[in-house]
Amino acid sequence: MDKVLRDKKAICVFVLPAFLFFFAMVIIPIFMSGYYSLLDWNGMSKGIFVGLRNYIDLFTSYNNEFAKSLGNSLILAGLSVFIQLPISLTLALILARGIKGEKFYRTVYFIPVIISTVVIGQLWSKVYHYEYGIVNMFLRNFGLENLVRDWLGDKGTALICVFIVIVWQYIGYHMLLMYSSAKSIPEDLYEAAKIDGASELTTAFKITIPLMKPILNVCVTYAIVGSLKTFDLIWVLTGGGPLKSTEVPSTLMYNTIFFKNQFGYGSAMALFIVIECLVLTVVVQKIFKSESYL
């Protein structure tokens, strides 16, 4: 029987199709990107090897556009961790303690998560529309005419308006992760806390949240990594504009490669995003491991 399970030919038959797809479309491209990132190349002529110059240029180019885009993605990461996750956690804790309509709320909160970002983006561009959007209609109705503006066309407000949509879309996702985790805590612990006279709030902070640490780790990681590689909603809502005010690394990478034909420089951005995501994943893990009281 062992012989059947060690059959080399069968193993190849089973694994090779998946491995070939994966190797050709996922593994090889990473190495190609790594190689391109060392070239000065416009895609047409032959690339010139320039070593790490593209990476140095990321942070020393005259207009500092990459550093700015990176800063924008970090603002989004901050909003996600400090605004979105607390909202999700509050909702999750309430729902997990059992409240009438628990399943209804859970189902509704999750709906934006599964809808295409293009649909969400197009929809919100209407919400922010200058003449007929919900936001400005609302302000006009309440006599706040002076606040009415072109939300996505104004350099000062575009970034925060785009980020609000991203935060809004994924509240339900983190809520559900946290909810499942809170639900899996054994009921006896709550009983015991109740007998000891602990209030619901104390129970949440002293029992539920500490026991949810593994899932909080996952949520923080997802929120940060997701922010660093965010593309779709910004692409649909502003494309990085106006005047580059909503540019994040991935939109800048796209523009650099496909509109400016700077294949080498753009590939350095792509690789930077990959490395940044991996490094921050590890950093978040480490922080969660060291914070034993959390």
């Binding site: 029987m1 059947v4 399970l5 060690r6 193993i11 038959v13 089973f14 694994v15 199709p17 998946a18 797809f21 994966f22 050709a24 479309m25 593994i27 491209p29 990473i30 190609m32 990107s33 391109y36 909202i87 909702l91 309430i94 409240i99 009438k100 209804f104 709320y105 509704v108 909160y109 999750f110 709906i111 998560v113 599964i114 809808i115 295409s116 970002t117 293009v118 929809l123 919100w124 209407k126 003449e131 007929y132 919900i134 209609m137 809004w168 996702y173 992760l177 499942s180 985790s181 899932i215 996952v218 949520c219 692409w235 991935s250 796209y254 490669i257 690789l271 990959v274 995501c277 994943t281």
Partner: protein, 282 residues
């Protein structure tokens, strides 16, 4: 504090919490209801001050316009084709690989699994330009295969992650006795494993569906020809075409969302599980 005071205090807290929950439900769902409403309005209603309220006259013609002159029908067919092929092929080859990794005995099985799982963490950004160049050289660019092949590859890590986990949780005895009876490994796979693994495949298929149906970055880069555009990209170009008419755009957005909503209504628990189980187990 007597019992009655305590009861009213509890009621007040429950009331506040309920208002909070309802407020959030409205925030999460109202934009979508608003979309549904303006998809049924004409410009006279939208620009005439009734952008917020219920449609006074239902403009079903918006849907007809979106499907025909807005090309949404073509985009929907393309999305359905790309998504279906991706789900089926990645499901089959993913389950096959999972079987070899989880059940068969070979030295490299663990490292193979690790390599596949790393794929979950790697952003697709790193592959965008190389794939563009590869697809260009192989003349696949601007064909449905330009999306199907990468989508299959990027669907595999999650498929293998879920299926390996599932296979490791079911006892080996069933196949073992079959092997003793002289059953071949292929027969065992088809007649014992495939029927067992259905629930895991269902979970993965929903996940793959959402990824493929909604994917934008590859779709906007690898397809230029309106004939082959999938919904996300098609809808972006349609919104340019109809920039002053909200009705047909709204209708297009609703059409693009209907399949997802149907799936969600029919099996909301499975949809929620498929998007979260990677995180919960990992």
């Amino acid at each position: 504090m007597n019992l009655r005071d305590r009861l009213t205090k509890k009621n007040i807290i429950v009331g506040i919490i309920s208002i909070f929950l309802i407020a959030f439900a409205i925030i999460q769902i109202y934009p979508l209801i608003w979309l549904l409403m303006f998809s049924l309005k004409d410009n006279a209603q939208i620009y005439g001050g009734n952008v917020m309220g219920l449609p006074t006259k239902f403009m079903w013609s918006n849907y007809k316009n979106a499907l025909t002159s807005g090309n949404v029908w073509v985009y929907t067919v393309n999305s359905a084709l790309v998504t279906a092929v991706t789900i089926v092929v990645s499901g089959i080859i993913g389950v096959m690989a999972s079987y070899a990794i989880a059940r068969m005995k070979w030295k490299l099985s663990n490292i193979t699994l690790t390599i596949f799982l790393l794929g979950i963490m790697i952003p697709i950004h790193s592959a965008l330009l190389p794939l563009f160049i590869i697809l260009n050289k192989t003349k696949l660019i601007n064909t449905p295969l330009a999306l199907i092949i990468p989508y299959i590859a990027y669907a595999l890590p999650m498929c293998i992650f879920v299926c390996v986990g599932f296979l490791r949780s079911i006892p080996k005895e069933m196949e073992e006795s079959a092997f003793l009876d002289g059953c071949s490994i292929y027969r065992a796979f088809v007649s014992i494993i495939l029927p067992l693994i259905k629930p895991a495949v269902a979970t993965v298929s929903i996940f793959t569906y959402l990824q493929a149906w909604n994917e934008l970055m590859f779709a906007t880069t690898f397809i230029d020809d309106a004939k082959y555009k999938t919904l996300p990209v098609g809808i972006m170009s349609m919104s340019g075409q109809y920039s002053t008419e909200w009705g047909p755009i709204g209708a297009g957005l609703v059409i693009a969302t209907i399949p997802t909503i149907i799936i969600y209504v029919l099996m909301s628990n499975q949809v929620q599980a498929s998007l979260t189980n990677g995180a919960v187990k990992g």
